[in-house]
């Protein structure tokens, strides 16, 4: 026990020192900012669930079935998120962290190291899920007027779910480290990404959300509700947690205790199995992981890779140097792959949903609906782009890591370095955004005016979003981070998402009014007045100005910070 506490101490001390290292003013400002955003999100989740559950309760007969189905789906989603996050965290904590060499040199058994790392990994991978699941359970408790036992059941059941997910993930990771060839441990990320890709595609395909707006699809309501009230597999940990929460909501104390006991006994068994497995094979796997990592697609010796970059070869030297470096580093970093697969899956689902929208069955006039959807789609695509930029563009400067000295010692100004990065990310993101917009507009059969408007607006917005990601990433870089991709959850990352969302919202608001006027005038065959023209031109000039400012200001901030402070 003492050993375990000693192993956990550095993490605790680093956390405390990290907090006290900043000045009180900065710390309070950041805490206030992050706290406000967190609280807003927390409050929003509570409000949405409270409203949904209140509405369900008013539906005589089926309300409870729907509410319990929702609870089961929420638990299932949380469990999937916990598993996914635990696999990534435990792989990094058990096999890839920089301090592992030092820890393994200490006179501590491998199983002890495993236990300390397992606890750290469980906390890291589940704290956010726990925090954001609380408003959901709170809304259930309030709507169903649950007594204290329900809240106690939540507090007892959710940690069990987190520990089960973490123990299962660490077991999988330990087995993968044993089975995968030496130097290939990072390939776990690729397998994980592919599995996630398939699950997402299958899940969305099987849900067929388009049927929700197609009344013909509900041929048999009875069959539908019967499927809703079917219990999930009794072998799933989420089923035990679900059963215990449901029983406690209904006041069935005995039933709840039985299912809680099931959860915790399985949880303790899983931790024991993981601990025992760690004693038997964690060190062997760790030792294997210490060999040199291999490239997924090895370069043949003497092979002239330069031909593959023939277009890039035409660029000036420094631009070529950073472009090639950026592309190669990105694709060789296997930790990026799950996110890439996830991105492709989400885009596939996004586009697919547009292709199956039964607009002709909607009671609203089709041409109107098509164009309204196209307008909303513009904002939605920009938000998708913000998410992509938050994951890939924002950490781009931090990814330079300790090798940033190379940039500072190189005979190119920081300005050039940052602008090269800008264009490296701008080109694929512009292509992605335009493809998304054009394909979805084609599927929606929008008018040529809407097609032109969306492609031009997206063309103007992408540089702003990329520049905000990169500029704020350079203003708040973390060159010492073990996992720079996580910087997106930092103060700077949140600032970027907030600014980007505000920027997209402003553009949409500025364009919405004039475009509606223009569109309705076209439908009603009316002429546009001089005032309307003035409004139209003024709005679009403001959009243009906003897009220019969104590029110039963050890039200048980033350049100034890198030049002066690093």
């Amino acid at each position: 026990m003492k050993q375990l506490l000693t192993l956990l101490k550095p993490r605790y001390l680093a956390f405390r020192k990290g907090r006290s290292g900043k000045t009180a003013g900065t710390r309070n400002a950041k805490l206030f900012f992050m706290g406000t955003i967190g609280l807003a999100f927390w409050g929003g989740t509570f409000a949405v669930f409270y409203r949904i559950l209140s509405y369900f309760q008013r539906v005589e007969g089926f309300g409870d079935i729907l509410a319990y189905k929702l609870l089961s789906m929420v638990l299932m989603t949380f469990f999937a998120m916990l598993i996914f996050s635990s696999i990534i965290t435990s792989l990094s904590k058990l096999y890839l962290s920089r301090d592992l060499i030092l820890v393994h040199s200490m006179p501590v058994p491998a199983a002890g190291i495993f236990l300390a790392r397992f606890l750290e990994s469980t906390v890291d991978s589940s704290w956010m899920v726990i925090v954001y699941s609380l408003p959901i359970f709170l809304s259930y408790g309030i709507v169903y007027r649950a007594d204290i036992f329900f809240y106690a059941a939540v507090v007892i059941a959710i940690p069990a779910l987190c520990l089960i997910a973490s123990a299962m993930s660490s077991l999988c990771v330990m087995l993968a480290a044993l089975l995968l060839p030496a130097g290939r441990i990072r390939s776990v990320f690729i397998f994980l990404g592919m599995i996630l890709f398939l699950i997402l595609i299958l899940a969305f395909r099987l849900m067929r959300p388009e049927q929700l707006v197609d009344p013909d699809a509900f041929a048999s309501v009875l069959l539908y509700f019967r499927s809703l009230s079917m219990p999930a597999s009794p072998l799933l940990p989420t089923t035990w947690v679900y059963d215990s929460l449901r029983a406690s909501l209904m006041g069935d104390l005995k039933g709840a205790l039985f299912h809680l006991s099931l959860s915790w006994s399985f949880c303790i068994t899983m931790i024991f199995i993981a601990f025992w497995t760690a004693g038997a094979c964690y060190f062997t796997g760790f030792s294997k992981a210490q060999t040199a990592p291999e490239k997924l697609f090895p370069v043949r010796p003497g092979h002239n890779n330069r031909s593959a970059y023939s277009l890039i070869n035409m660029l000036p030297g420094p631009v070529r140097a950073f472009t090639v470096k950026e592309i190669k580093t990105f694709f060789r970093d296997q930790t990026q792959w799950p996110q890439l697969f996830l991105l492709v899956a989400l885009i596939t689902v996004y586009v697919y949903n547009f292709s199956v929208l039964p607009l002709e069955k909607s009671p609203i006039k089709t041409i109107y609906l098509q164009n309204v959807l196209s307008f909303l789609n513009m904002g939605l695509a920009a938000f998708v782009l913000t998410a992509v930029a938050a994951r890939f563009v924002f950490p781009a400067v931090s990814l330079e890591g300790e090798a940033f000295w190379i940039v500072r010692a190189a005979p190119i100004p920081v300005r050039t370095f940052l602008w090269i990065k800008f264009f490296v990310y701008y080109a694929p993101l512009l292509a992605l955004a335009e493809i998304l917009i054009v394909v979805t507009n084609i599927l929606l059969h929008v008018t040529p005016l809407m097609m032109q408007l969306s492609t031009i607006t997206v063309f103007l917005m992408v540089p702003g979003i990329v520049a905000m990601g990169l500029g704020l990433g350079a203003t708040y870089p973390d060159f010492k981070s073990e996992n720079p991709a996580q910087t997106v959850t930092s103060f700077g990352g949140l600032l970027f998402m907030l600014f980007s969302a505000g920027f997209i919202g402003l553009i949409i608001i500025l364009e919405a009014g004039p475009i509606y006027t223009l569109f309705m005038a076209g439908i009603r065959n009316e002429t546009i007045t001089s005032f309307q023209w003035l409004w139209l031109i003024g709005s679009f000039l403001l959009v243009l100005l906003l897009c220019i400012l969104a590029v110039v200001i963050p890039m200048r901030m980033g350049i100034a910070n890198l030049r002066e402070n690093f």
Binding site: E294, V299, N305, A321, V324, K325, I406
Partner: protein, 245 residues
């Protein structure tokens, strides 16, 4: 070739470098020694254009680092004390990256030069391996090879021998001497006093941010008031004197 005029660097209230003035001639090897935390790395980073001084000027081959940093940096081959590199590039790719950055555009010349350097530093067989698979010493050798790729007129090197095996140390020593003979100026910080004594034409001793002595071995012996002594004895004497109140 290298002129440091009144270089001062403050980190908040801490004075890391205090008004250093040094001039190093073409073809000279200048050794920069001092205890841990004396300000060696800070001075070297200021010379390499990685850090901006709080006060003072760095002139490289007549070019002011503050006014024309890119032009000045093009003259320098910079070798840091810790070999942080782009781990996902291969050794050869990193050399190509450096060549592109420093304007070595001729493909044939690059291949010939890169091959020669990789062979010299015993990295040729590892040229297509990822940098992340290299040992500390191999990364250090790769950084030295990359710094020499564009034939710099000035080599600024911070602790060049850290992590190198005896063969590596011998190669680097010979290389620096050869380069100096060909007119390259070398500014080298080191803790290996034997190496400094062996290859440096002049030595500067820095302590608590200030340059406390500079000159040839004989000049330093005179300053320390020691007759027949090695650099270690001179170093200890001068830094002790400087430390005493």
């Amino acid at each position: 070739m290298i002129t440091l005029k009144n270089i001062t660097k403050k980190y908040g209230p801490i004075l890391a470098v205090n008004g250093i003035n040094i001039s190093v001639a073409r073809g000279e090897i200048f050794g920069f020694i001092g205890p841990n935390g004396a300000g060696k790395t800070t001075t070297i980073r200021i010379m390499g254009g990685i850090l901006a001084p709080t006060e003072g000027t760095v002139i490289i081959d007549g070019i002011d680092m503050a006014r024309e940093p890119e032009k000045a940096k093009r003259k320098i081959g910079f070798i840091p004390d810790r070999p942080f590199l782009y781990e996902k590039l291969t050794g050869l790719e990193f050399l190509r990256f450096s060549a592109d950055l420093y304007g070595v555009n001729n493909e044939e010349a690059f291949r010939e030069k890169a091959e020669g350097l990789l062979k010299m530093f015993s990295l040729f067989d590892w040229a297509d391996g990822l940098v992340e698979s290299y040992s500390h010493g191999m990364k250090q050798r790769l950084i030295i090879a990359a710094a020499l790729l564009h034939d710099p007129g000035v080599i600024i090197v911070d602790e060049p021998m850290v992590g190198l095996d005896p063969n590596g140390i011998r190669i680097v020593k010979e290389l620096l001497k050869d380069k100096a003979r060909d007119g390259t100026t070398v500014f080298m910080s080191t803790h290996s006093l034997g190496i400094a004594e062996d290859i440096c034409d002049r030595i500067g001793i820095i302590n608590r941010g200030s340059l406390i002595a500079t000159g040839t071995m004989n000049d330093l012996k005179l300053a320390a008031g020691i007759g027949e002594a090695d650099l270690e004895a001179v170093f200890l004497k001068l830094t002790e004197e400087n430390d005493s109140p």
